[in-house]
């Protein structure tokens, strides 16, 4: 195995699972998510050593493969983001964890894929607005707008029980 292949293999071993999760949250289907990750990693292999940040490249390629962003370029106006968040949560009831997980997945599936992708990149991956815009190939205003709409839709689907912690909110807003 060449040095290049060894480096690539080490990267894949470390990143494949997080990328699979990211793809799943974006497209809502484990099989499609795995296919998207494989396509993204194949692209990354071709460009290996020609890009400085393989993790960012892979993340972008995975999300784009999952929602097919490149086909519909975006051109948006900015929209102010609502800062209103519901109250802090009660203690988690672990006995209902599985039911809750199913309910969460069902709620996420009710949101259009692009909105879901924005929420995932910002609040799970911790990307800034600028980074999310770059990953999705869209203006920062669109990210703001979709964050707002995504949260609104998720709250509607979950019964207004979704909030963003102050730490995560700040982290996701930081450029």
């Amino acid at each position: 195995m060449s040095d290049r292949d060894r480096e690539f293999s080490d990267f894949v071993a470390a990143q494949m699972e997080p990328l699979r999760g990211l793809a799943y949250l974006t497209c809502g289907d484990w099989q499609a998510a795995e296919d998207a990750v494989l396509v993204a990693l194949a692209k990354l292999y071709v460009k290996w050593r020609r890009i400085d940040n393989p993790a960012a490249y892979a993340r972008t390629a995975v999300v784009r493969a999952a929602i097919d962003e490149t086909r519909r370029p975006w051109w948006r106006r900015e929209r102010a983001q609502s800062n209103a968040m519901p109250d802090r949560p009660d203690a988690r009831d672990d006995t209902n964890a599985v039911d809750e997980r199913l309910r969460i997945r069902e709620a996420l599936q009710k949101i259009p894929a692009r909105l879901r992708a924005v929420l995932t990149l910002r609040y799970l991956e911790g990307l800034s607005i600028q980074e999310t815009a770059e990953a999705l190939g869209c203006p920062e205003g669109t990210v703001k707008s979709y964050t707002s709409r995504g949260l609104e839709a998720l709250r509607a689907a979950m019964g207004a029980e979704v909030f963003v912690s102050r730490e995560n909110y700040r982290a996701a807003r930081a450029v």
Partner: protein, 379 residues
């Protein structure tokens, strides 16, 4: 039970099934892709040499990416210099009609009207060479037209010129060179803002030439595109489908062969945007995409776009309407060569979207003579 969003997203990923692919699969897929790319380049390299000789003047768009601009500039310039006097331009007198005529400036071509709204109409600017590369499900590459920008003419009173900046090189117009933005992370290319040339084409009526800043076009180049603005006979914009059912309150908001995002499109593509509520076309400084905000409130919009079948990523058997996910539904034409995508944006449910798609009458997307006037396409 309340949920913190990041925890909620992590929870949703839990209990994943065992992975189907491993490191070796990724390595194999990468090697295979690299081999295919090498074979592709070897093949297109020889083919391109033949094309470059045969089509340098007559069919410049067939030249491979990156080679077109330098070899076809002169041919384009000759066309411009020998062109007859251009027809005067006038803004359409009726909504959803276009008045752009096709014209060339050097190696650039300003195509006819590609999008109309109640506030402005848009023509695309195409350069020689290939545009965005795509790959179909078989791994075969195909390319979009090389659209490098747009000419936008705004209706009287719609555009706000107060933010336009004067440049001595821009003649009578205002020029802004699209600046390079900061790269988000090392290794990623830094994006550019758009370069714009803004000028007044009639009393209280403004127009813009908008191109990617990375192309580094000088003010004089954009000014020459503006000076070449040529009018054509006013014609209603047509689309490749007609809707038999439209949800209550929605009305035609835009129509053309590209969407509000003004992307490069393929033959047979057409677009309709429906909007619920009055969007005020005033004080614009550019074209409008989603979201359409009025007094901090988002107006509901729906978009329908016809694509060639190879653009489909959510294939399904038959030609019945289907929704692979919430807010996104499709229906194929009878010959399955094209499909329409309906994007509900979360404003209407899939049941309502399916009702809309089931009411669609397709023209032949490949034959524009069969298309419907946009105003008739939305009942």
């Amino acid at each position: 039970m309340p949920h913190e969003l990041s925890e909620m997203l992590r929870d949703a990923q839990a209990d994943a099934p065992p992975p189907r692919y491993g490191v070796q699969d990724a390595l194999r897929a990468g090697r295979k892709r690299q081999q295919r790319r090498r074979a592709l380049w070897a093949g297109t390299g020889s083919a391109a040499a033949v094309l470059a000789v045969a089509a340098a003047v007559a069919v410049p768009q067939l030249l491979p990416a990156g080679s077109g601009r330098s070899t076809t500039v002169n041919a384009g310039s000759t066309t411009a210099s020998k062109a007859p006097a251009k027809a005067p331009f006038a803004y359409p007198s009726t909504a959803f009609s276009g008045t752009f005529a096709k014209y060339t400036v050097g190696d650039l071509t300003v195509d006819g009207t590609v999008l109309v709204t109640p506030g402005y109409q848009v023509a695309s600017i195409t350069a020689p060479g290939r545009g965005q590369a795509y790959e179909d499900e078989n791994g075969d590459r195909y390319y979009a037209p090389n659209v490098i920008g747009h000419v936008v003419t705004y209706a009287k009173g719609v555009f706000d010129p107060s933010r336009a900046r004067k440049d001595p090189k821009a003649g009578a117009g205002y020029f802004h060179a699209g600046e390079k933005k900061q790269a988000i992370k090392p290794g990623l290319p830094a994006p550019y803002a758009e370069s714009t040339y803004t000028w007044k084409y009639a009393d209280d009526a403004w127009a813009q030439v908008i191109v990617g800043g990375g192309l580094k076009y000088p003010a004089t180049k954009l000014a020459s595109i503006a000076q070449g603005l040529t009018g054509g006979a006013e014609q209603p914009v047509k689309v490749g489908l007609r809707l038999g059912y439209v949800p209550a309150g929605f009305a035609l908001g835009a129509a053309g062969t590209t969407s509000d995002y003004l992307g490069a499109t393929f033959d047979g593509t057409s677009y309709l945007r429906l909007i619920k509520g009055e969007f005020p076309y005033e004080k614009l400084t550019g074209t409008v995409g989603d979201p359409f905000i009025v007094r901090d409130k988002q107006l509901p919009i729906l978009s329908l776009q016809i694509y060639p079948a190879r653009e489909q990523k959510y294939d399904a058997p038959g030609t019945a309407a289907y929704c692979p996910q919430e807010g996104l539904c499709y229906r194929y034409t009878a010959d399955k060569k094209f499909f329409v995508e309906l994007n509900g944006g979360g404003f209407i449910g899939n049941t309502e979207m399916l009702k809309m798609l089931n009411s669609v009458t397709f023209a032949n997307p490949a034959d524009r003579s069969t298309w419907f006037a946009a105003t008739e396409a939305v009942g």
